[in-house]
Amino acid sequence: MSMGADTLLGLYRQMVLVREAEETLVRLFAQNRMPGFIHSYIGEEATAVGVCSVLRTDDYLTSTHRGHGHILAKGGDLNLFFAELYGKAVGYCKGKGGSMHVADLDLGILGANGVVGGGIPIAAGAAFAARMQGLDRVAVSFMGDGATDIGSFHEALNLAALWDVPVIFVVENNGYADFIAQSAHQRIDRISDRAAAYGMPGQTVDGNDVLAVREAAGKAVARARDGGGPSLLECVTYRWRGHYEGDPQPYRNDDEVTAWKARDPLLRAKAALLESGALDEEAEQTIRQEVQALIASAVRFAEAAPAPEPADALADVYTDAVEEDWAWLS
């Protein structure tokens, strides 16, 4: 097996993990076994996996409301992840965050974020802090195309460039900001063009080609780590499912979705692996089964875990105080 094929096989396995986890979540959600709402990452796996494959454990990332793929690609623990989405006390955030706020500080994951654009200046601030502390860490801020229209994007890119902050702004251009097609929410086609306005390099890659994403992200990360400052990487991809589970999707037709499914990032990687001989159908099935077993185990863990005590809601607001209960109750 060549070095390249070996790398691709590892990336493929990670993409299978994200895909299988997301398909499981969609199924569990449809069965009403999970509270809240779910924003599926299916179809965009190559972006998270390609970018995270060039990050170290101590590098930072901020994620989005559509963040499951980022968390898992950065090495998130499946048990803690599923338990959090089930709202359980043993979950990543003790059941206080849920799908949109999964965080793992030990893995540098500074949280998924429920506000579009909310994580962008935070990632830049973390990267800035790393440099101030003499650490060679970088930060990645994942965002969608919709986030490039909000003020925090522009303010953060401007300041990050000004201060040579080691941060990579990764735009997952999945074609839609909520229900609104890219052509209806901004006048440009290539979001990476916006980089020029802030004096940083911008690049657009095929976000469904995991090796292309990995290569571009690798260069941006190396540049940032070496003191070269921030960059903007646009990964063009597609969201297979609705904005949220249950989205009636009046804004697009089946043909468009079908065409993009033909560009499935997993199928593409698999075809290359089969052609190179690094993988055969049997080995691919083994990967699927191993990943499915891990996920099934995590779901069992999450479902069996006890719910939080209701009054746990009063803790963790501050480092030094627990909110008191109503005076009139006592």
């Binding site: 955030c93 965080a103 949280g111 502390q133 953060a156 501050y318 480092t319």
Partner: protein, 322 residues
């Protein structure tokens, strides 16, 4: 004991905090040059341009960078030149800084300070004159504090910077040139503890920030008429010292609350509701609020003086209690 202006006392606290802890850094619009109102003068000369930074006019990035830096090990102190401008950064303050720790199940700490200049009495009109403490006291996860004298702001700011939570420190800009004694060593000033600024048995007057001095002057005037005010400076609004207020009202049986911010929905309402419930049997008179009239702050000095609270209005409110 030195005699310092309020602005110099702010700079002194920042200098002490930065000298004591390498993780502390200061930044904001014009901060490197000493600040629009001079509260960071001399810091860049002493600590260098890495730790004392000017920023673009980007409140959202200023606060967001602080959140990211705080959660990864630094202790940022960012300046919001006029508190009115924090409206540009509300997502980062309210949804990010305040919520990260809780959303992450207590696994993150966000030790950051936002120094907010509070206008009023500057003839700067409606977008440079608001005291907005109630907005932030309303948000669990934030701490909110303010001080009305040079000695207090020095001690309070040091406590805020040492705190492991996001703290908004409100600095009344009208006080920046006012001078007062500042001890060589900062007094301990734990957030959440009120300070008694005058003792008296007739009426409790609770206040904070820019109104502390006018209230004390009103106390002098009233004392000449034989009315003794028990003046509590809350210093911190979230958390706030309800026990100290209730303890005082237990003696005076009367409560007047004085703040610069508009009356409607102001933090005085929270104080009044708490005392009204927990101290219902203590009260011999309705709780009175002396605050700004419920309009934006106007430009013309005549209009501004009519809208904002004053020493004279405190005197009238106390006298009206009979």
């Amino acid at each position: 004991m030195a005699e310092l202006s309020y602005a110099k006392a702010v700079a002194l606290a920042l200098e002490e905090a930065m000298a004591a802890d390498d993780r502390v850094f200061c930044y904001g619009e014009d901060v490197g040059f000493g600040g629009a109102y001079g509260a960071t003068q001399g810091l860049r000369d002493r600590f260098g341009p890495e730790r004392v930074r000017d920023t673009p006019i980007s409140e959202s990035a200023i606060v967001g960078f602080a959140v990211g830096a705080a959660v990864t090990g630094l202790r940022p102190v960012a300046e919001i030149m006029h508190m009115d401008f924090i409206a540009c950064a509300m997502d980062q303050v309210v949804n990010q800084a305040a919520k990260l720790r809780y959303m992450f199940g207590g696994k993150a700490a966000v030790p950051m300070v936002l120094r907010c200049g509070v206008g009023g009495w500057l003839n700067a009109a409606a977008q440079h004159s608001q005291a907005l403490e109630a907005w932030f006291a309303h948000v669990p996860g934030l701490k909110v504090a303010t001080a009305g004298t040079p000695a207090d702001i020095r001690a309070l700011l040091l406590s805020a910077i040492r705190d492991d939570n996001p703290v908004l420190v409100l600095e009344p800009l009208a006080l920046y040139e006012q001078r007062g004694p500042v001890p060589d060593q900062a007094a301990a000033m734990p957030l959440g503890r009120a300070v008694r600024k005058r003792s008296g048995g007739d009426v409790t007057v609770v206040t904070w920030g820019a109104m502390v001095t006018p209230v004390l002057e009103a106390g002098d005037q009233l004392a000449a008429d034989g009315i003794e005010c028990d003046v509590l400076d809350l210093m911190s609004l979230s958390p706030w010292d309800a026990e100290a207020v209730l303890e005082s009202v237990a003696h005076t049986h009367r409560l007047v609350i004085v703040h610069q911010a508009v009356e409607r929905g102001g933090f005085g309402a929270e104080v009044a509701a708490t005392v009204g419930y927990r101290g219902f049997d203590l009260l011999d008179a309705p709780i009175t609020r002396v605050a700004a009239r419920n309009v934006p702050v106007p430009f013309s000095p005549v209009l501004e003086d009519y809208v904002l609270p004053s020493r004279q209005r405190v005197v009238e409110a106390v006298r009206a209690l009979g």
